[in-house]
């Protein structure tokens, strides 16, 4: 949808967890594979509920998966 300041480590964390596929993560979090791809690419900011589900699926805390970057000087 649009680029945003919400960065995430999903791709890196997937590979650290035995090269978990996007489809596997999508199934665990209850979303489509396209949504995982969009989140990884920074094109979609997930809802708070989905962010918690993704963190849970990756067995991490939410702040370890998502980081907000304030670009203001």
């Amino acid at each position: 949808m649009e680029n945003n300041q919400l960065k995430n480590q999903i791709r890196k964390l997937r590979f650290e967890r035995g090269e978990m596929t996007q489809q596997e993560l999508a199934d665990k979090a209850g979303v489509t594979r396209q949504t995982i791809i969009a989140i990884e690419a920074g094109k979609y900011s997930p809802s708070l509920t989905l962010a918690f589900k993704l963190a849970d699926a990756l067995q991490m805390r939410i702040e370890e998966v998502f980081q907000y970057e304030d670009e203001k000087p």
């Binding site: 949808m1 489809q23 999508a26 199934d27 209850g30 979303v31 489509t32 594979r33 396209q34 949504t35 791809i37 969009a38 979609y44 997930p46 809802s47 989905l50």
Partner: protein
């Protein structure tokens, strides 16, 4: 590309095809019949868009256990609003433009009324399809 993108593409393609045939036919009929209803009948080629109604049958359900999520809901809601806004704009223009061009004391043929309704419906679906493709992406990779 997901199922909704394929349906949106079928609407865009049939619309472009219908529009091209309509304009070609209109250009051929205009010198012969002028601005009469016979000439405007060329736009009946827009009925080709109706073929896209079969696309939900042709395109099968997406793979994967989850077929619809919060992002799909957001995209489809935005697309529906865009379609509604554009069809409403079309309706407003179809009402006000003749009024300002022809004046308040002119009579227009009632067969314009169903044409406006059909036009607004077409505008809704075309805008919906374009909004879907803009948000998901136009192709296989951009949407993924």
């Amino acid at each position: 590309m997901n199922r909704v993108q394929k349906i949106a593409w079928s609407i865009v393609i049939t619309t472009l095809l219908g529009l091209a045939l309509s304009l070609i036919t209109f250009a051929r009929l205009y010198p012969k019949y002028g601005g009469t209803p016979k000439t405007f009948a060329a736009f009946s080629f827009m009925g080709i868009v109706g073929l896209s109604m079969f696309s939900p049958i042709i395109f099968r359900e997406d793979k994967g256990t989850v077929k619809f999520d919060e992002r799909d809901k957001l995209i489809q809601r935005n697309a529906a609003w865009a379609g509604f806004a554009m069809s409403n704009l079309f309706f407003a223009l179809a009402c006000f433009i003749p009024f300002y061009i022809l004046g308040a004391n002119t009579l227009i043929r009632v067969n314009w009324l169903p044409s406006i309704y059909v036009g607004a419906t077409l505008i809704y679906f075309i805008t919906w399809a374009v909004a879907i493709l803009v948000q998901y992406g136009w192709g296989d990779k951009s949407g993924e």
